[in-house]
């Protein structure tokens, strides 16, 4: 079954063609990085306007790259839940128009379910059940993936997502946007132990996250350093900050693994591209006999291929959306 996936929930306009939920024929992503750099973050109306401008081109490009036409498309899968409302609307409007004009089934999906499937798409041997840590600028969740399309939410962020903390600290340190890759790169020249930043809630039994305290600690230390007239060891600050985030994410994930008595971990979302996060997860999991999986780098950030893969799984369960499909910016993962 050839599925056209569409994803416009935040700042990436993306379309993809995926066969049988596992073979990516094309994955086109138009990133709004130029706008992000200009505004220092996502401005919802600006992002939505860009989606409306690009959506047709991105879909055409996905078809052309795959060497397919709409005649070959057997279903349309689209992100309809969780994201910026005006952005989600553009994708859903496009998806239902194609579904109606071509008389093919439509399915609306939760964005986080897409991220869970990004890793299943990258690693066809990733078994269920497993624990999935999905972490980006917009979300930060621990999910017990009980079965394909059956989830139990174990924990989420109480304030900032880890990726959001990366962005804010990078902006503060003058490293530009997006912050994750910039801090990852600079950290490689820094001392991870130079500063002992707090690991928020790391000892706490709950599986929720909180990163705003860490952010404040980094900013306060930075200001104290300036006030003291000392030279600013940017690379050390970046490395120590990154280490605090990584330690927290790993510790909470391991706690979830213990609680559910599982030996399989999936790490996904934009932050799963972070090299230190991958390194620590790999080392720690190896020691404990836990298998850990990461998506291909191209499937870490928001993309439509993961939406098409999730759509296929749901369609195999017999699920469909009708043409009244609407968007829900704050919908829980559910299912």
């Amino acid at each position: 079954m050839l599925i056209l996936g569409i994803e416009t929930s935040c700042d990436e306009t993306s379309a993809a063609l995926v066969a049988d939920g596992k073979t990516i024929l094309s994955s086109t992503i138009a990133t709004q990085l130029d706008l992000l750099k200009k505004y220092g973050g996502v401005v919802p109306e600006v992002a939505a306007r860009r989606h409306a401008e690009l959506i047709g081109y991105v879909i055409k490009e996905a078809l052309d790259t795959a060497g397919k036409t709409l005649d070959d498309v057997e279903a349309v899968a689209v992100t309809s839940r969780q994201g910026l409302i005006g952005c989600l609307m553009v994708g859903v409007a496009a998806a239902k128009s194609i579904s109606y004009a071509r008389q093919v089934p439509l399915i609306g999906l939760h964005h986080i379910e897409g991220h869970i499937f990004a890793n299943i798409l990258s690693n066809p041997d990733l078994p269920v059940p497993h624990i999935c840590l999905t972490v980006s600028g917009g979300h930060n969740m621990l999910v017990h993936v009980q079965n394909k399309c059956r989830y139990e939410l174990l924990g989420t962020t109480l304030d900032d997502a880890a990726g959001e903390a990366f962005d804010k600290i990078a902006k503060f340190l003058g490293l530009g946007f997006p912050g994750g890759p910039a801090i990852d790169k600079l950290s490689q020249q820094g001392n991870r132990k130079a500063f002992n930043f707090p690991r928020p809630m790391i000892k706490n039994k709950a599986l929720d996250f909180s990163f705003s305290g860490l952010k404040t600690a980094v900013i306060n230390m930075f200001k104290a350093q300036i006030a003291g007239g000392e030279p600013l060891p940017l690379a050390d600050i970046a490395a120590s900050f990154q280490e605090a985030i990584v330690d927290t994410l790993v510790a909470k994930t391991l706690r979830a693994v213990e609680e559910k008595d599982l030996k399989i971990v999936s790490v996904t979302g934009g932050v799963s591209a972070n090299s230190r996060l991958r390194q620590v997860f790999t080392e720690v999991c190896k020691k404990r006999g836990i298998k850990v999986f990461f998506p291909k780098l191209s499937l870490c950030t928001d993309n439509a291929a993961m939406i098409a893969a999730a759509g296929y799984a749901r369609m195999m369960l017999g699920e469909r959306s009708d043409l009244r499909l609407n968007v829900f910016p704050n919908a829980p993962l559910g299912g």
């Binding site: 973050g41 996502v42 005006g86 409007a93 959001e164 990366f166 962005d167």
Partner: protein
């Protein structure tokens, strides 16, 4: 040429069908926050009522706005992706021109006016008719209704929704000129969009479906938006 016309720029879903000469269907559905939820269903039911299908359409017309920013993004995306998917030519029609079209046999000169969402701020344009042709004169206007008043110096018909309050505001400003200003209550109709699109498409003046974008009139400038919305970091 049979053309489907849609407009979701205001708080209605307008769907119409025109055969190039006359309207075969002209439906309007109330839709405040649920334009997206309803629009394709409303297109389907309008086609069915007329005994037609999307396949029977020879082109698609879509109201570009101005109007609700969300509404026009939804409408234009639906219009262009229907055209792309069904392989039909598409024509984007300014919603103000569709409003003016509904007054074409009532006055040689009209001002079409649409609320910009904020109190007393409007989008407007001046149109003159040549037969059934709607010709825009000058640029679009965006601003306070009181600032529009000095531009109106000759007898004119104002067209739009809630139009009498705009007429009163203009007469209040221009009272000393003693010119005749009438008002015609109207909504942008799907049939008007369809008929104007049919005219354009018959002249082979279609738009590129992929590049069609809404007519916002108000720019999403950095300052305006950064002031209005909290920025949110990502990734």
């Amino acid at each position: 040429m049979i053309v489907l016309g849609i407009d979701t720029s205001g708080y209605i879903n307008a769907v119409g069908i025109c055969d190039g000469e006359r309207a075969l269907a002209d439906a309007s559905f109330p839709a405040r926050a649920d334009s997206l939820e309803q629009i394709v269903d409303n297109i389907d039911s309008t086609l069915k009522t007329a005994g037609l299908t999307l396949k029977d359409m020879e082109g698609i017309g879509v109201g570009l706005g101005p109007g609700s920013w969300t509404g026009i993004k939804v409408g234009v995306t639906v219009g262009k992706m229907l055209a792309f998917s069904a392989n039909k030519p598409v024509a984007g029609i300014p919603t103000l021109a569709a409003l003016a079209y509904s007054a074409r046999d009532k006055s040689p000169l009209v001002y079409a006016i649409i609320s910009a969402g904020i109190r007393d701020t409007v989008y407007a344009a001046r149109y003159r008719f040549n037969g059934n042709e709607v010709i825009q004169e000058g640029d679009y206007f965006t601003g306070g209704i009181k600032d529009l008043a000095p531009l109106i110096k000759e007898p004119v018909l104002l067209v739009g929704t809630g139009i009498d309050s705009y007429r009163q505001a203009i007469v209040g400003e221009n009272g000393s000129l003693k010119i005749k200003i009438r008002a015609l209550e109207a909504i942008p109709s799907g049939a008007a969009i369809a008929c104007l699109a049919a005219r354009r498409l018959e002249q082979r003046k279609s738009d590129n479906a992929l590049s069609l974008t809404p007519l916002y009139l108000k720019e999403s400038t950095a300052k305006a938006f950064v002031n209005k919305y909290a920025t949110k970091g990502k990734k």
